[in-house]
Structures are given as C-alpha cells and as structure tokens.
C-alpha cells in the first residue's frame, strides 16, 4: 500500500513539473498573452480528482515555485493558486458530475480569478498590464481543459493514483 502511495506522488509530481516546463516554454510574441495557465489546470484537475491529497498546501508550494520561475513577486502566483485550490475544493463534487463544456466554463472562471489576483499583485509592484489582454489565458485554458483532463485522467487511471 505504501509503495503505491509513493508511486502516486511520483505521477503527481511529474505532471506538475511538466506544467512548470510548459509555463516557461519560449513562445512567439503574439502567443505570449494567450499562454494557458498550465500549472493552474493541473492543480484544478488534481484537486477535483484527489481532494484528500492535493489541496491548499500543494497550491501554496506550487505557487511559490512558479513565482521563482517567473521572477514574480514571491507570493503572487501562490496567492492566486491558493484561491483557485480553495474554490476547486468547494466545487469538486459538482465539477465531477458536470459535462465537459460546463467544466470548461468553470475553468474559465477559475483561471480568470487566478489572472485577476496576479494582476492585482503586479499592480502593487507597479507593473500591471495596460489592457484586458491579461484575461486571455482564461479563454485558452478553458479551451484546452478537455485535453488536459484526458491526459491527466489517462495518467491517473494508468498508474492507479487515488
């Protein structure tokens, strides 16, 4: 049993690392604004799937890591992801029975909130965005949610993480 638990953590860790890599992958300038929030997507999935294992504390660590990676104020993404995890924990029972488009809609709102919090902290620093383009990742993340869901669920079922 213990062995299985350890393997489960390995899979979760791997997906988060992958999300980190995708989060800093160099993109052309015109795509920059629409970069999906991969880390938030992975976090939402794991919170819905395993609310007893992945939650606020994971979000906190994950966020600090992302802050360091992005060179942002430490706590910016941590704050945003903690809020996202909190909402996912409240909503997970409903989210599990939603259809895919409905789930995408919720993901749109969650990532939108994530972006708003990030923007708010960036404005404290004096480096906020000038337009509403910073909400673009909410749209792209919602569109990519079905893909992320299938990949992550496939991984979870294949390695029997629960």
């Amino acid at each position: 049993m213990e062995n299985e638990g350890a393997r489960g953590y390995g899979v979760i860790l791997l997906t988060f690392t992958l999300a980190y890599v995708l989060a800093v992958l160099p993109l052309p300038q015109w795509l920059m604004w629409a970069r999906p929030e991969w880390v938030a997507l992975a976090l939402v999935y794991w919170t819905i799937a395993l609310p007893h294992r992945v939650g606020i504390f994971t979000a906190l660590l994950l966020g600090v890591g992302l802050d360091v990676l992005e060179g942002a104020v430490i706590g910016q993404n941590a704050f945003a992801l903690v809020v996202v995890a909190l909402l996912s924990l409240i909503l997970y029972q409903r989210l599990r029975v939603y259809s895919l488009p409905q789930q995408s809609g919720v993901v749109f709102v969650l990532v939108g909130i994530n972006q708003l919090v990030c923007q708010w902290v960036q404005n404290l620093e004096g480096a906020g965005a000038a337009s509403l383009l910073f909400l673009m990742p909410a749209l792209s993340s919602a569109l990519l949610w079905p893909v992320a869901l299938h990949v992550l669920r496939g991984l979870r079922r294949h390695y029997r993480v629960n």
Partner: protein
Amino acid sequence: MLALLLVVVLIIADLRFRKLETTRSVLDTVATPIYWIADLPTRLGDWSDTHIQSRTDLLEENERLRRENLVVQGRSHQMSSLQAENVRLRGLLNSSAILRDDVLVAELIGVSPDPVRHQLVLNKGEVDGVFVGQPLIDAAGLMGQVVEVSAGNSRVLLITDATHSIPVQVNRNGVRAIAEGTGSLGTLEIRHVSATTDIREGDLLVTSGLGGRFPVGYPVAVVSEVERDPGQAFARILAVPSAALDRSRHVLLVFTDDPEQDG
C-alpha cells in the same frame, strides 16, 4: 485561511522589505533545470541549423563573414588610432581616460513567460563573477541590467520593462534625459523633456553614465516620435531600443573598471 495569511505575509516580505532575496536565489538554482528543459526545442533548432546545412550555404556564409571581417578589421585599425588620439586629447583636457570595458559572453536560457515582465535568464551566475546591477549589451546596444544572481545563472531586467528607467543623453548634442520602459518591447518613453528641448526624430540616445550604474556611451535607443503639444508642459517623445531585445541569444555582460559599481 492560514495559507492565505501566509501568502499575504510572503508578498509583503518580498515587495516591501525585500527579505526573500537569498531564498529566491537558492530556489532559482533549483529552477534552472526547468529552464534548461524548456529551452531544449530552441537548442535543438540551433543544433540542426548548424549541423544540417548545405555546403553552398556554408560557403556563402563564409564568404560574407570574410567580407564583414575585412571591413570590421579596417575599422578597428582606425579605431585604435582614434582611441590613442582621444586619450591624448583627454590628457590635454586634464580629464581621466575612459578605460576599455571587459565583457563576458552569456547565453540566454529563458525569457519571462509573463508578457508584462521583461526579464531574461542567463546561463552565467555568481561563479562567473556576475553581480547585481551589471549592465547587459548585445551587438547593437544596451539591453538591461542584472537584478538577481544565483550560483549558476542570473536574471536580467530589460530596459523596456515598465519598472525600469535609464539616464541617457542625445548623442548629437549631449542633452540629458531619462528613458523609461513602457512595458512594450519596441518602445521607450523619454519623460519630462521640456517642449523646447532640441531632440529630433532619428536622434541616437546613448547612456550618459550619470546613474553610476551604466558605463558611458553605449547606444540605447533611436528617437522615433516627437510630439510637441503647446498645451502640455513636456514634449511626448518615444524611442525604439537599439538592441534586439527579443532576438539576441548571445549577449555580453559588461565589467567596468570602475570599482564603485553598486550605485
């Protein structure tokens, strides 16, 4: 609730008191492999560019480089005589000679994923002698300054970041000004220049060295737009950075001989 509180404490500690610099530089070292992996596709592209290339292409490039080298060598001969003359003249004027700067070639391993934040990650760090505040240039001009150093890599703030300003002067007549980043990669804004100041479109702006951080005389930007509205106290002046901020992969970290670097 506890987590939210902790996060707010973190934000305040970093933003207000800058208490997390050492933590950050340690964590940065851990983050390096992630940048390295994310950079792999680009490096693979570079590799295939250099290894899978036709003979004619290489010959052509070789020819072109030979020609370029000839021109540059000719110029550098001229340059050395001009430099000697400059030192003599400065001696006559009783001012200290400008010393040549040493440079360290660094490679870009990451760019900030956030479009609002203009930062680069370089593959040189503390062990190579990189320090906070060190200027970064490419072949065409000034790019920015180092803001964070960890053991093996460093983070650079570009001159176009919204939180960056740099003292400049017009190369043509020596008018001094401050060039601020606007948050868009192709534009700097020259702030608080009175409407009667002699700045024209096409003027080259170079570092003035007044801040004590950047060495004198590196090209920064070219004035692209001057708008003088009689109703406004200041002219609105925009400039395009000379350096290829979004294209340069190999960049130069400048070591000046001035010991008082951390101004």
